[in-house]
């Protein structure tokens, strides 16, 4: 980590920019002129990186690439990256870190959607809200996140972690509807509440909800109560938790850990089956 490329937007973008060239693997070993010459599109215009961003190089970098400013219209930053680090000081656009296999992306702001879609490794930290479709695959595709970690300080939106096959998602806020749709493996930890339709068609993996769960799908069956659950090497969630198994409509063996103290409405319904 010696050299750091600092990118600052030259204007406020109002049409989407496709910037999959902003990637440490691509920047590696290139001079500033070569980096300035990288190709991106704004709407239907074919441009180069220096048309939209001011590019500077500093020696004392904490990461390989730092972006200062609002890039919420800029899509596909860090797509497919395998190593290195990107720091974004501001809001970021869709598909950030899509299909990434390694490295780290730190977002000091909000993300719009599809963050870490289909990722296979690496870490994404979002210090704001992460938007919808976090870690979910492209529409129609059946393999979502397969590895790595996504850590969100705020909330995540709807349809997150669809078809998840591995990895960890930790959320300090709330989660939207349809979390973990068709999930097959991996771990999701939601510290606060979760909206309706949690984990439909789930076949494996585990989801931990520390706050209020608005509604549980009827195709899940209560199994037991557990005191604490291990999320990953660092965190253990403190319960007690109801353990639900499902989705029985898919002969699934997934587990939902739903906090007992935060969900008093579940007691009258499910306690008699324990």
């Amino acid at each position: 980590m010696s050299k750091m490329i600092v990118l600052s937007p030259l204007k406020k973008f109002d049409v989407p920019v496709q910037a999959d060239c902003i990637n440490p693997d691509i920047f590696k070993g290139k001079t500033l002129e070569q980096i300035a010459d990288l190709h991106l599109t704004e709407g239907n215009a074919q441009l180069t990186l220096c048309d939209l961003f001011k590019i500077e190089e500093t020696e004392d970098g904490t990461s390989n690439i730092t972006i200062n400013g609002d890039v919420s219209k800029v899509k596909r930053i860090g797509q497919g990256m395998k190593s290195g680090e990107i720091t974004i000081n501001g809001d970021v656009g869709m598909h950030t870190g899509e299909k990434m296999a390694g490295g780290k992306i730190v977002i000091n702001g909000n993300a719009v959607g599809w963050t870490g879609s289909q990722m296979r490794g690496g870490i994404i930290e979002v210090h704001g809200n992460a938007g919808d479709y976090v870690a979910s695959p492209y529409r129609g595709s059946e393999v979502g996140m397969r590895g790595g970690a996504i850590i969100v300080d705020g909330d995540i939106g709807t349809d997150s972690a669809c078809y998840m096959h591995g990895g960890v998602i930790k959320v300090k806020g709330n989660a939207g509807r349809f979390l973990g749709y068709h999930m097959a493996n991996g771990t999701i930890y939601i510290e606060k509440g979760c909206a309706i339709r949690l984990a439909p068609c789930m076949t494996g993996g585990k989801i931990i909800v520390g706050g209020l769960l608005e509604d549980i799908m009827p195709s899940f069956t209560v199994d037991s109560v557990k005191g604490k659950v291990k999320v990953d090497a660092e965190i253990t969630a403190q319960g007690p938790f109801y353990v639900f198994l499902g989705d029985l409509a898919q002969q699934g063996t997934g587990k939902l850990f739903i906090s007992k103290p935060s969900n008093p409405q579940l007691g009258p319904v499910y306690d008699k089956y324990l």
């Binding site: 492209y138 129609g140 059946e142």
Partner: protein, 564 residues
């Protein structure tokens, strides 16, 4: 008056017995002629290049209801393969189910000029022809699915072959079709009731008929009508372990109809019908048994249905088989029952080298193509997109012509499949001449297309020129060179116009749609009862059912004189 002269190429034209001779090919007004005026003609210098007739694909799903539904359910298939618009060509998406224009461009880039869309539900004939109209540069035709068509089943169960023949003739001109397509005979009608047939002597519910009677009856009908192509048959029990016995039974059932002149049946995607074993665990190749039979009998033709290791989409009218695939994979799927005519199913499929079953399937296709001695009997297809996308054809050509290429692939396959494969023991490598048979001449001959697949005087001016010099390049060693050359033709010439040059599209004329106008002695009986049934059972009125002449952009009807 356009004239063209293709000079000094190494010509491979198996129908006329030309094997790599250096000669000139003259084209005038879209037809091949004996000579043209060299001073005024457009000269194409083919010195050091291989010249073949435009390639023909006997079985490829490129248009129609199934293909379109497949396109709809697979956005993730398109996202990884996007074609940009250019000054000449339209944008499109591809991979396993390309959009119509992309289909035409990609086929033409490989030197293909004629393709056959083998699965057209009569009810969806209009839709199919609309899509075929959009596919540029290729001549094409469709085979209506009539193996489970109610009226046919009724006529055949009452043994009324002549009435059935007149009815099929009416169907050909109504749907603007080209050949009789039979899919899992009887099984699709059973599937309407949640069942299937498991051998060729099972009863079809409500019709008092067996698959054997359907296939034999339609083969006789085909003979009475003198249709150019034989019946196009997708066997019962397709894709199930141990189904090779059914395939042999089907072939034996047709033996006595053969009179020694033309084949009476064409079994398509034979690979899927040649499984031995009694479960997926010990499923193995039955290529040896099947090819032994085929080498001793001449009444059928076949195509490979080769598997390509890639992600693809399977689509067939064989609904129960697609249900089997769904049970195996659990993918999203579509299954439909097309009123009284046929069924259909679509499911994504990923053929993996690391899967024993898939690797055995890959091996079966090649074993069949190499063990069947006569190249005029077995043709190269992938049953696009069921076995793999058609743009992988150059790979198959490399595997067929080079032992080195196929052994390199076999080494990457599942160990069990390597142990069970016959490929290591097969030394045969196809020559360019044989390759021209399996990709062009044989297919055109089996289809009964008199002006396709050869370069004799009077043939259509469809020529493919590849960047291979047979004198200096040994394709069995340099298979990668051959693969690249077959993947992007130096020239593709369609009706005497250059449409592809150096693998780039330079012109996009419309291709013709061929269909049969069967001339019977008596017209087909369309009585009040039949019209009433259309009212009762179909969602389309009888008067709106036929494909009208204006539905076809460039019609090319072929008149056939029937014997009934």
């Amino acid at each position: 008056m356009t004239e063209m002269l293709i000079k000094n190429g190494f010509v491979f034209d198996p129908i006329n017995g030309i094997n790599g001779e250096k000669m000139d090919i003259a084209i005038k007004d879209g037809k091949i002629v004996a000579s043209v005026n060299e001073k005024t003609a457009q000269i194409v210098d083919a010195s050091g290049l291989t010249v073949m007739p435009g390639a023909v694909d006997i079985h490829t799903h490129i248009a129609g209801g199934e293909v379109n539904t497949g396109r709809m359910i697979r956005p993730e298939d398109h996202v990884k393969d996007v074609e940009r618009k250019t000054a000449l060509t339209r944008s499109g998406v591809g991979y396993s189910i390309p959009s119509t224009f992309t289909t035409g461009y990609r086929y033409a880039k490989m030197g293909y000029t004629t393709v056959m869309n083998p699965s057209m539900a009569p009810l969806e004939a209009k839709h199919t022809h609309e899509e075929l109209n959009d596919i540029p540069m290729l001549d094409k035709a469709s085979y209506p699915l009539i193996g489970d068509w109610w009226f046919v089943l009724e006529y055949l169960s009452k043994d009324k072959i002549e009435e059935c023949a007149r009815h099929v003739a009416w169907m050909m001109s109504t749907t603007k079709g080209y050949a009789i397509k039979i899919v899992n005979p009887g099984g699709l009608e059973s599937w309407g009731f949640g069942g299937n047939v498991h051998s060729i002597d099972d009863q079809v519910p409500n019709f008092c008929i067996t698959p054997r009677e359907i296939v034999r009856g339609l083969a006789k009908v085909n003979k009475l009508l003198n249709l150019p192509h034989s019946i196009h048959l997708h066997t019962n029990n397709l894709g199930l372990p141990g189904n090779y016995t059914t395939t042999l039974d089907t072939m034996k059932a047709l033996e006595d109809i053969y009179t020694g002149d033309r084949p009476v049946g064409h079994i398509t995607h034979l690979q899927f019908s040649s499984f031995a074993g009694d479960g997926w665990g010990n499923m193995k190749s039955a290529a040896e048994e099947i090819s032994k039979y085929i080498n001793n009998h001449n009444h059928m033709t076949f195509d490979m249905g080769q598997v390509i290791f890639s992600e693809t989409t399977t689509m067939t009218a064989d609904g129960p088989f697609e249900f089997t695939l769904y049970q195996l994979s659990g993918h999203k799927w579509v299954n439909s029952d097309i009123e009284t005519e046929t069924s259909g199913g679509i499911i994504p499929m990923h053929y993996k080298r690391t899967s024993a079953v898939n690797a055995v399937q890959w091996s079966i296709g090649l074993e069949l193509a190499l063990l069947i001695e006569d190249p005029w009997k077995i043709f190269m297809t992938t049953d696009h997109p069921n076995g793999g996308p058609f743009f992988a054809y150059p790979k198959i050509m490399a595997w067929l012509t080079s032992r080195k290429a196929r052994m390199a692939m076999l080494k990457k396959c599942h160990k069990k499949a390597q142990a069970r494969s016959l490929l290591p023991s097969i030394k045969r490598e196809l020559s360019l001449y044989e390759l021209a048979i399996v990709t062009r001449a044989g297919q055109a001959k089996a289809l009964g297309l008199k002006d396709k697949g050869h370069l004799g005087v009077g043939a259509d001016g469809d020529v493919a020129i590849y960047n291979i010099n047979p004198e200096t390049t040994d394709i069995s060693q340099k298979y990668k060179t051959a693969r690249a050359a077959f993947g992007s033709a130096a020239y593709t010439i369609k009706d005497g116009q250059i449409v592809v040059k150096d693998g780039e599209v330079v012109k996009t004329p419309s291709g013709k749609t061929m269909w049969l106008n069967v001339d019977t002695n008596e017209p087909c009986l369309i009585d009040e009862d039949m019209k009433r049934r259309f009212k009762d059972y179909w969602t389309i009125e009888y008067d709106n059912y036929p494909v009208f002449d204006h539905c076809i952009k460039v019609p090319s009807p072929i008149t056939v004189k029937a014997d009934v």
